[in-house]
Symmetry: C2
Subunit: 218 residues, 2 copies
Amino acid sequence: MSEIKVVTNILKANDELTAENRKKLDEKAVYVINLMSSPGSGKTSILEKILAKLKSDMKIAVIEGDLYTTMDAQRIEAKGVPVVQINTGGACHLDAYMIKDALNNLSLDELDLLIVENVGNLVCPAEFEIGEDIKITVLSTTEGNDKPLKYPLAFEKSGVVILNKIDLIPYTDFDKQKFYDDVRSINDQAIFFETSCKNDWGLDELCAWIESKVKTLS
Amino acid sequence: MSEIKVVTNILKANDELTAENRKKLDEKAVYVINLMSSPGSGKTSILEKILAKLKSDMKIAVIEGDLYTTMDAQRIEAKGVPVVQINTGGACHLDAYMIKDALNNLSLDELDLLIVENVGNLVCPAEFEIGEDIKITVLSTTEGNDKPLKYPLAFEKSGVVILNKIDLIPYTDFDKQKFYDDVRSINDQAIFFETSCKNDWGLDELCAWIESKVKTLS
C-alpha cells in the first residue's frame, strides 16, 4: 500500500503548489495555457504559429517541458519570445513544483500570456494541475479517431481540443464525426478548432479565441 | 525523499517479477515481443498484419495493454487469436506484475509467440521490463524525425525499430537520414523496418524476421 499513500501525498502536495502558482499568476493577470498531446501531434508547430501571430499584440512567454533536450525551446527562442526550459530528466509530465520554479525565471509583471508546453504524453500530464487557466489538448488526424475514448482524461479536462494536421485527413481513415461525438460524450463543454500548420488553416480562429481570453484578464 | 525510495522498491519488485516471467516463458520456449510507441503510431494495425500473416505458421497470443477500454483487444480477437486484456485503470505502462497475472490466463504449453501491446506512451513503458525477449518501438513518419532524441529510452532499449506510415512520408517533412542517424547515435544494434499497413509495405520482411527469431527457440 505504500505506493498508493505516496501517490496521494504527491497529488496533495501538487494541489497546494498549484493553488500557490495560480494565486501568483492571477495577481499578475497572466492567462496560462497548459498544452498537452502525444509526441508528434504538432504542439510545438502550433505554438510557433501562435507566437508569430500574437507576439506583436501581447507579451507572451513559454515554459517548455521536455525529458532531456532543449530542441523545442530552441525553436521557441528563435521566435523571439522568452522561454524557460524544464528538463524532467525522464519524468513523464510537468508538475506544479517544476512550474513554481520556472515562474521565478520569468518577469510576470510584464506578461499577458504564458503557454506551457507539456511533455509529449497523452496519459500522465492530464493528471497534474500546474496552475493553468485552461488545458488544451492537441490530437493529429494521423493518430486516429479512437484516441479520445482510449485516453479520456486529457480530453475530459481540456477546455479546448485542437484537431491538427487536418491537411492529412484525405490520406487517413480518420472519422471526424466519430471523433467529435466521442469527445462530446466525455466533455460537453470543449471548444474545438481544426488546424493545419502546413497550410495555416484554423490558426487565425485559434489565435482570436486566445486573444479574447487574455483580454478578459487585462 | 520518500517518493524516490518507493520508486526504487517498485523497480526492484518489477525486476524480480520480470525474472520470474522470463523463466516461465523460457521454459515453454515462447518468444515474447514488447511492442511500444506513442498513441496512434499504428501498433495495433501492425499487430493485425502480423497475426494475419503468421497465425497459420505458429501459435500466437496477444496481451493488450490499455488504460480503460477493450477497443484494441476486440480488433485482435477478430483475427482469431487468443487475447488477454489488461486495463491499467489509468496507469501509463504495463509492468511485470500485470503480465504475470495475464500469463495465468494463457495456455503457454501451446504457444510459440506472445506479443504484448503496451499502453500508447513513448515515455513510461520503456522503463519497465516485463519478461520480454525483445522490445520493438514503432514510430510513424507523421510524428516527426526528432522523436528518438527527445524520447531516447524507448529507442535505446529496442532491438527493432519500425518506421511506420511510410506511405505518408511525401506529405510530411520527415528526414529519414536524420532519423536513422539519431537512432544509431543512441543504439548501434537496432534492426530497422519500414512499414505501411495501408499498402502492406515492409510487413513480409518484418514477419520473416519474427519467424526466424521464433524458430531459434523451437
